[in-house]
């Protein structure tokens, strides 16, 4: 009953492709039938409305049908992908999972009951309203992962308005607000979701070419790798209309490089958080990092340079942390922004800011200078405590080809000194051949010695 509007659209367009998985297309007729099968199977398995169900899967025909069936049954859904790695058991415990449904790589399904009691206050309120729920684990890149509990009904609302029908890659993951947003957008407009298992540039662009993909939702890290690999030169990308980017600050140099390489593709910044959902956004231009944010159901304000958002689709709260909302319902995004009329420029998380002797350095600004230098594949800028200036700016770079480390350090410092204030110039420069991104194609900002790579949001 919660997804009636989706099913009506499926019925109106039964022969359209809903999904491409492992080179095989699945129609909306097929999806509607599987959805009904899963409704029956969930009843047989005694998975009840209000139950907390861990759905361990990546995008696949079965996982999409199951996702919808669980929402429609009124379950509280906790999607997890293999990207959570060693944190899986901890996440299941925090979410108080009562059962787990695992969709294997061959699309087979295994159901298991779990011993947890799911009695969190937010769960009780969802059950009282008889609404389905969604639990998403937010960024662990700068600390402990937090579990955001959503009422699924307001999250679905924005998909009731019909929009352009597109063919899109499912780039962001199944357990990420961005990945779920892409999936619901495609389903609500009977578009087609082209799933990929290998998210490296060549594999993704191969899928764009083979399946005439129109929309590629990506991350700045992925787009940078695409530029370095020059993979765009090897494929026919004439179908591609829009690339969206989000989840981390976009270095201006990467954006301008991408626009020069793909001048016919519209580049659009997205903005969203596990806690509030995805805002509607409009970039000032394809080569501009200035973006207008808002849309129906969202209000924005800037307090002391930090972006606050009030959202109709905001989460109820965290399972494992105090409510972050102000008394009148505003959410502090921790993102520092510059404002120009109705446009925002997102500088980065306040927690990633490096304080050098009282002066502020945003990693993205320094990364943007280093990224364009010769032989640089990736760069991550971070702070390290230092007794003289409080913190120092450090850079970890990986090179395309091995080379003279001393000369590279010098080239980096020279370029930074020419373009940045002296306190922003990296003092320590580490050179590595190791990749610096997570399975989510997002920069790993924590030092390698700080434990496992960030989960990212």
């Amino acid at each position: 009953m919660f997804i009636d509007f989706l099913e009506e659209r499926f019925k109106a367009d039964p022969d359209a492709d809903a999904l491409v998985w492992r080179e095989q297309a699945f129609s909306y007729r097929w999806l509607a039938e599987r959805l009904n099968d899963w409704r029956e199977r969930l009843a047989v398995e005694q998975i009840e409305p209000g139950e907390v169900v861990i759905l361990e899967a990546d995008f696949s025909p079965t996982s999409v049908a199951l996702f919808l069936a669980l929402v429609d049954r009124g379950c509280i859904l906790v999607p997890l992908t293999s990207a959570v790695g060693a944190k899986r058991d901890e996440f299941v415990k925090i979410a108080q999972g009562q059962s787990t449904i695992r969709v294997g790589p061959d699309d087979s399904v295994a159901v298991e009951r779990l011993p947890h009691v799911a009695d969190h206050d937010y769960y009780l309120s969802l059950r009282e309203k008889k609404h389905p729920g969604l639990v998403l684990f937010s960024s662990g890149s700068t600390g402990r992962s937090k579990a955001a509990v959503h009422d699924f009904v307001p999250l679905l609302d924005k998909f009731r308005i019909p929009r352009a029908r597109l063919r899109s890659i499912s780039f962001l993951l199944f357990d990420h607000i961005g990945g779920i947003n892409t999936m619901l957008y495609m389903l609500s407009n009977t578009g087609c979701l082209i799933t990929v298992e290998d998210r490296r540039p060549a594999a993704v662009l191969q899928a764009v070419q083979d399946h005439r993909v129109e929309l590629l939702p990506a991350t700045p890290t992925f787009l940078n790798l695409l530029l370095i690999s020059e993979a765009d030169r090897d494929f026919d990308l004439s179908s591609l209309q829009i690339i969206t980017y989000g989840t981390e600050p976009m270095p201006e140099t990467t954006l301008k490089g991408l626009h020069a390489r793909l001048p016919n593709v519209r580049l659009v910044q997205t903005y969203g958080l596990s806690e509030i959902g995805i805002l509607r956004s409009k970039s000032k231009a394809s080569d501009s990092i200035w973006v207008r944010l808002g849309g129906e159901g969202f209000q924005t304000r800037v307090v002391d340079g930090i972006l606050h958002v009030k959202a109709a689709s905001a989460m109820l709260g965290y399972l494992n942390a105090a409510s972050p909302f102000t008394a009148d319902g505003w959410f502090n995004t921790q993102d520092r922004v510059e404002v120009d009329g109705e446009f925002f420029r997102i500088l980065g998380r306040d927690s990633e800011l490096i304080n050098v002797g009282g002066q502020k350095v945003y990693p993205a600004e320094v990364e943007s200078v280093i990224q364009v230098l010769d032989n640089i594949a990736e760069v991550t800028v971070f702070g390290e405590a230092h007794p003289i200036t409080g913190n120092i700016v450090c850079a970890r770079v990986s090179t395309i080809e091995p080379g003279d480390v001393k000369a590279l350090r010098k080239a980096i410092r020279t370029a930074c000194r020419e373009q940045l204030e002296s306190f922003k110039v990296p003092v320590k420069i580490e050179v590595t051949q190791e990749p610096q991104y997570s399975e989510r194609f997002k920069k790993i900002r924590r030092r390698p010695t700080d434990g496992s790579p960030a989960a990212g949001a």
Binding site: V356, G357, H386, P387, I388, T389, I392, K410, R413, T414, R417, S422, F423, V425, V427, K428
Partner: protein
Amino acid sequence: MDISKEQVTALVYRAVDEINGELTPEQQLTKNPATVLFGTEATIDSMGLVSFIVAVEEQLSEELGLSMTLADDKAMSMERSPFKTLATLIQYVQNRIAAA
């Protein structure tokens, strides 16, 4: 590790060469034990000092395979700052190498 004062001085002076390559003409450090590194008489500011210390650390790592942080809380709380002049720095580096 045993190392002579001459060897340490030469190593620190190589770091001076490195850092001078990045400094403006007015900021240049002279290779003389009396050269002041910190305070009103110094030619470099605190960022320059931090960079110079890291240059010495890099030299230690490249030439002797020693990975050490010279500017730590212990160094900062010493009664006589090891970062006052090149002479105090050379003495401090020699002591740290001996203890390594």
